[in-house]
Structure formats: structure tokens, C-alpha cells
């Protein structure tokens, strides 16, 4: 079923008018209430009166993640703080993380778009959903939760981890829908086999998988083993969380809810729009958000977009699966990792050089693993294994506590990590995405 048929299947001309109307309102709202955007428009010499239709969006400056960091915690707010009812914070780099604030209307919007996404994936009211995304500062758990409440699903709010318990609840409650990262869906296969559960007999019929990039091959694998439909969900904390775009059962791209999140795909070098089906960086504008609206936010996710109509009837543009990133951020087990975070940790460990390489790979059982190769400084080389191992352990502990993800540290000889002119190749991603 289609949750909001009126907007999701709106003819393109009406959709454009709706976008233009909301866009004009947004620009005025931001100019009036957001100090950040007021000075941004001023600096760019923008006359608000010249911004009338959605086509004028290209006249406005882009908003970057670095700007969001500089505005931490609430510099981007366009409302008084007492109207912000909830906040979520991204896993930060070495400096500030990004904090987002939601007003009551923003939370309603979030529930609305996630309800659309759930229906788009095939959920119907009365179904039961097992939410195995983390609940907390991460938007995954609560985002799915609000949407599921809104559309009338029975929720098992498992949060992530505790595979045995996840499987027990699946077996006892028989939920039709599973929401988690795709790598966790694969990881649970092993747990099921240990518990003597035949994955193909599981109650899950629909998977809503996101928060990390995944391949068609991985989809085939998940669908075959669990005997379910595996769909892709897209979102980011800066825009709202999950619920920006979602695949329908045709699995031919993710429907982007463009009446509320206006998408552009730009050439990352020139910032000019690319043609239909060409890849570029996804730039999003929140047309109706109040708490912290964003105008032309550069997601750094590389996608293609098409405006061709989907057989499911929805008219919204569809984006491809994420094809890569314009920065060197990697997403490991749903957590954003920037090489600069690792560098910062190494700079504080005197026994090592800040020369490092990050290797990301996906284990056969589905979980991503992170390995960090670190050059040891000659003067700290000890012929005692325990001293060397303790350096390793110290780095591993710091990575875990700073990044919230476990990594394996491997000490290597000085001068062995390739130095290249210009940008060093810090990340080797061996995952087949």
C-alpha cells in the first residue's frame, strides 16, 4: 500500500508547484529565524525576493558538513531552544560532532516519512516489526520506531546486538519485518544455525536495511538465506535520519520523498547539476523542517537519480544505491569513520608514526572488520613481545572508546606504508559493495 497516495503519486507539475511553494516559504523562514542562513545569504549577495520557484534553488549557496560542525551544538537552530523536543548527534570526527534538533512538527514529519518508507517496503498496518537498529543518539532505532508507531505496526524495540535474544523474539513473536543494518542481517545467520534455527523458516518476510552501503550481491545472499525481501532505506541524521528514501518491491532505486526533501545531484567538481542517470553528489534541502532546516546540504553520497515513473505508481524521483563518497569517510557496521579520527589517536601515541592505513573488509559471516596498520617508531622498538603488544592494545582501546567501534591494530615496520605525493591512500576498502 501507499501511505500518502496524494503526495507520493502526485503528478509532476503539481509536485513542482508544491515544492516551489514550500521552498519559497523555507527561504523566508530561514532568513528570518536562522542567524546562520541570514548571514550566509547576506555574504552570497542573495536577494530573497529573487527566490520564487524551486528552479531558483541553484542561486543559493551550498551548506557543508564542516559548517554544521562549526555550528555545534545548536548554532543552526531556527527556533527557540524550548521548542526543540529531541536531539540526535552523529558520531563525530576529531572535532565536534553534528547535533540536530527536532521540533514537534519535525518529529511528526519524521514519523510521516518513515511510515511512507515502511509501506513502500511492503509493510501493512497490523504487521509486527523487529527494530534491531541501535536506539539512542543514532537516528536508526528511534526513527524506525516513530514511523512504525504512526503507521500502526506492533513494535519489538530490540535495539542492536544480543543476537540470541533477537532470534528468540523472532521465533516467539513471529514479526514479519526486520529492520537493521544489512551486515547484521547476515551476521545473524550464524547465530541462527547455532540455535538450530533454519533461517529459511524465519518469520521475517521483509527486511528494511540501511545505515551502511551494501551491494546487490549481498541482497541476493540475504534474500536467499532468510527467504525474505531485502529492501534498502536511506537517510542521514542531518536531514532527519532514516526515511529520506526507500525502495519499493520493484527494487529499482530508492523513492526519495521529494515533497519534503528536495534532491539535486551535482557534479562534485563544478557543483552543476548532472543529467538524468548520471552520477554525482546528492544535495538535499529540507523543505518543511522548522528546528534546523538545511538548504542545499551536501551529503557527500554519490548517487544517480532518475525522474522516470516507477511501475509502483509513486512519482517521486528515485536514487540509486549509494555508489561511494566524495570524502574519505567510510561506514563500518553502521558507524561513520573518518581516517582523521584514527590519525588523531595515533598522534597521541608516542610510540608510533602517524603513518597508517585502514583496511576494511567484510567477513564471510557478514560483519565488517576494521584493521589499522600502524608504523612503529624505531626508537620504541623493544625486543620484548609484551611491550609491543601493549602498544597495540593501547591503540585498539583508544579507537574503541573514541570511535565506538573495535579495530584490529597491526604494527608494521617504518617506511612500509606507501607515501604518495598529495593525498595518501589511507583507506583500502576490500568490501564488495
Amino acid at each position: 500500500m501507499i501511505w500518502n497516495e496524494k503526495v507520493e503519486c502526485m503528478n509532476l507539475e503539481d509536485l513542482k508547484n508544491l515544492q516551489s511553494e514550500r521552498f519559497q516559504k523555507l527561504v523566508n523562514y530561514a532568513n528570518e529565524h536562522s542567524q546562520f542562513y541570514r548571514s550566509k545569504f547576506l555574504n552570497a549577495g542573495i536577494h530573497i525576493k529573487d527566490i520564487r520557484t524551486i528552479s531558483d534553488i541553484q542561486k543559493l549557496p551550498l551548506t557543508t558538513k564542516d559548517e554544521l560542525r562549526e555550528q555545534y551544538p545548536f548554532g543552526l537552530k531556527a527556533t527557540s531552544l524550548d521548542r526543540i523536543l529531541e536531539t540526535h548527534v552523529t558520531s563525530g570526527t576529531t572535532g565536534n560532532p553534528v547535533a540536530m534538533g527536532y521540533t514537534k512538527a519535525d518529529l511528526d514529519l519524521w514519523a510521516e516519512v518513515v511510515a511512507r518508507a515502511l509501506c513502500c517496503a511492503g509493510a501493512i498496518p497490523g504487521n509486527m516489526i523487529q527494530i534491531a537498529y541501535g536506539y539512542g543518539l543514532f537516528t536508526g532505532g528511534l526513527g524506525l520506531h516513530y514511523g512504525a508507531l504512526k503507521m500502526g505496526l506492533t513494535i519489538i524495540p530490540c535495539s542492536s546486538g544480543q543476537t540470541k535474544r533477537q532470534l528468540k523474539l523472532m521465533r516467539d513473536f513471529k514479526p514479519q519485518i526486520l529492520a537493521c543494518t544489512p551486515s547484521y542481517a547476515l551476521y545473524m545467520v550464524e547465530g541462527a544455525l547455532e540455535e538450530k534455527i533454519d533461517p529459511a523458516q524465519s518469520s521475517w518476510k521483509i527486511g528494511i536495511f540501511g545505515a551502511e552501503p551494501w551491494s546487490e550481491a549481498m541482497r541476493t545472499q540475504i534474500e536467499k538465506i532468510w527467504a525474505m525481501e531485502a529492501t534498502d532505506i536511506y537517510g542521514l541524521c542531518e536531514i532527519i535520519g532514516p526515511g529520506v528514501a526507500q525502495e519499493c518491491h520493484h527494487k529499482k532505486g530508492l523513492h526519495l520523498f521529494s515533497d519534503v526533501f528536495y534532491p539535486e545531484v551535482l557534479n562534485p567538481e563544478t557543483n552543476k547539476p548532472v543529467g538524468d542517470g548520471e552520477s554525482g553528489v546528492l544535495v538535499l534541502t529540507t523543505l518543511t523542517k522548522e528546528g534546523m532546516p538545511l538548504i542545499r546540504y551536501v551529503t557527500r553520497d554519490i548517487v544517480t537519480m532518475t525522474n522516470q515513473r516507477c511501475p509502483c505508481g509513486r512519482t517521486s524521483p528515485r536514487i540509486s544505491k549509494i555508489k561511494g563518497r566524495t570524502d574519505d569517510m567510510i561506514i563500518v557496521r553502521g558507524i561513520n569513520v573518518f581516517p582523521s579520527q584514527i590519525e588523531h589517536i595515533l598522534l597521541n601515541i608516542e610510540e608510533t608514526h602517524p603513518h597508517y592505513q585502514i583496511i576494511v573488509d567484510r567477513e564471510a559471516r557478514g560483519l565488517d572488520k576494521l584493521e589499522v596498520m600502524v608504523e612503529i617508531k624505531e626508537e620504541f622498538f623493544s625486543d620484548e613481545i609484551k611491550k609491543l603488544s601493549s602498544i597495540q592494545e593501547r591503540i585498539e582501546k583508544r579507537i574503541e572508546s573514541n570511535l565506538g567501534i573495535s579495530a584490529k591494530v597491526r604494527l608494521v615496520e617504518p617506511q612500509t606504508i606507501a607515501r604518495s605525493e598529495g593525498k595518501a591512500k589511507r583507506v583500502i576498502d576490500k568490501r564488495q559493495l
Partner: protein, 143 residues
């Protein structure tokens, strides 16, 4: 008398040990004793050679991480209980052994034990007082 041992950091990658051995061979350095301590993904190669200073220079010139450590080499009888006798002495005198390894002399009925102690000088005194032969630097070359 303390003997100089060379410790070399070895990444766990194929051919690395062979490279070290070839490098020393090419430069006419003879390995007299050897052991490898390995952790999960790296190892430390410990060797006693006839010309330690030269060997370290060559290794460093070839961008290897190497360091010198003082060790003590002592003779023990190459027979059942030979090793136990020296360990008993060390144990009774609370001498801490960081690590140790053994090798056998070619032309004698003795075995040689390499010890890394916290305090090599005191350990040497103890061994000598108890009639254990501690090998001298010059002897390493002629072993």
C-alpha cells in the same frame, strides 16, 4: 661477560625472514644462535652473530628495525637435568628471566643457553660463583 644480541622487528609477511638471512649472508655475517618470538601478526627475530655492530648497521641501512640487547650466554651440561640445574640456581636466587633460548655447540658436550635478564651483571656474578661457565664475546666468534 655480557654478549650483544640483535633483535629485529618482523612483520608477518612472506619472505621477510629470508630477506634478513640473505642480507646477513651477503655481508659475511655468521648467525651463531637464533630464536623467533611471535605475536599474532608480528614477530621479533633474535640473533647472536659474530659481528653485531656491523650487522646492525647493515640492517638499519636496509630500513629494518633492529636493536641491541645485552644477553648472557652460559654453558649447561647437554644431558638430562642440565638445564634444570641452572634454572634452579636462578629460581632460588630470585633472578628474573625475561626470556631464554638454547643452542648446541658443535665441538663440545655442552649446550649453550641464552638468557635475557633484568639485571645481567648480577646474574653473571651469580652464575660464575656457582661454577657455570659464562661465554665471552671472543668465544662467540669462534664457536
Amino acid at each position: 661477560m655480557k654478549i650483544t644480541q640483535i633483535s629485529i622487528f618482523l612483520e608477518n609477511k612472506s619472505g621477510r625472514l629470508c630477506e634478513v638471512a640473505e642480507l646477513l649472508g651477503k655481508n659475511n655475517i655468521n648467525i651463531r644462535a637464533l630464536t623467533i618470538a611471535d605475536a599474532k601478526d608480528f614477530g621479533v627475530l633474535r640473533i647472536v652473530v659474530d659481528k653485531p655492530k656491523e650487522a646492525v648497521d647493515i640492517l638499519k641501512k636496509n630500513k629494518m628495525v633492529a636493536t641491541l640487547t645485552d644477553i648472557v650466554v652460559t654453558e649447561v651440561g647437554d644431558q638430562p637435568g642440565g638445564l634444570a640445574s641452572v634454572l634452579r640456581l636462578l629460581e632460588d636466587n630470585k633472578v628474573n628471566v625475561e626470556y631464554m633460548y638454547g643452542f648446541v655447540e658443535k665441538f663440545s658436550d655442552k649446550a649453550l643457553m641464552v638468557f635475557r635478564f633484568d639485571n645481567p651483571d648480577e646474574a653473571i656474578k651469580l652464575l660464575q660463583k656457582n661454577k657455570f661457565k659464562v661465554i665471552k664475546k671472543e668465544e662467540i666468534k669462534s664457536l
